[in-house]
Symmetry: C2
Subunit: 125 residues, 2 copies
């Protein structure tokens, strides 16, 4: 499953807001980008045909639901991204990401916990 960039924008809205009409999604999109209503509509129709979204007919408009999980999709995108941009080195990616973005204490703790887990798996001593 490789959503295009435009599809991903729509997915982000649906993941964050839950099931929505085209109008609702579109109102979110135009906050950051200039795009026509029928463009959003068309994209969501295509996504439905592809099986990424389903829809239920609510009165006159349709309510769209996401059929793929956010984490599952991120996982797949991440795998591909590590390959194409980092020649397969997830570690390099992690290091760059940590270097660029500041994380909160809680987040750092979470990452640290994960690291410890891996350390133990690698060479338990």
């Amino acid at each position: 499953m490789k959503p295009t960039d435009a599809e991903l924008e729509i997915l982000q809205v649906l993941w964050s807001k839950g099931p929505s009409t085209v109008r609702q999604v579109h109102d979110e999109l135009i906050k950051t980008r200039d795009v026509g209503y029928t463009t959003t509509l068309k994209l969501m129709q295509i996504m439905q045909e592809k099986g990424i979204l389903s829809r239920t007919e609510d009165a006159r408009s349709h309510v769209y639901h996401v059929l793929i999980g956010e984490e599952e999709t991120q996982k797949s995108l991440l795998g591909r991204f590590v390959e194409t941009a980092f020649r397969g080195s997830a570690t390099k990616l992690v290091i760059q990401a940590l270097g660029q973005h500041k994380a909160s204490r809680e987040e750092l703790d979470e990452i640290r916990a994960l690291l410890n887990q891996q350390l133990n798996q690698n060479s338990p001593d």
Copy 2:
């Protein structure tokens, strides 16, 4: 600077092998993908027009050099990726990356060091 997927493949070869002719790049590409020689040639010509590559004429063939740094490009791609795929949360990305890929002890140590740095910056106590 947003290289396309095909461009990125070529960049990877050049970053890893250093300045190369079209033939050399192409010989690497066909190890993993079926593509015609003139396709590789055309792409590299386009990249040169865009200013991603420069070339020096060596005898009858041309030798191409990358004009953009690998880390700099990764940084830019990563920033975009975090936005589009992880809604801006680099931490989520790091956690997923760590969960998915095994790292060596040395790599883990490097990441750990980075974490400590950030911890100190955040709340030095």
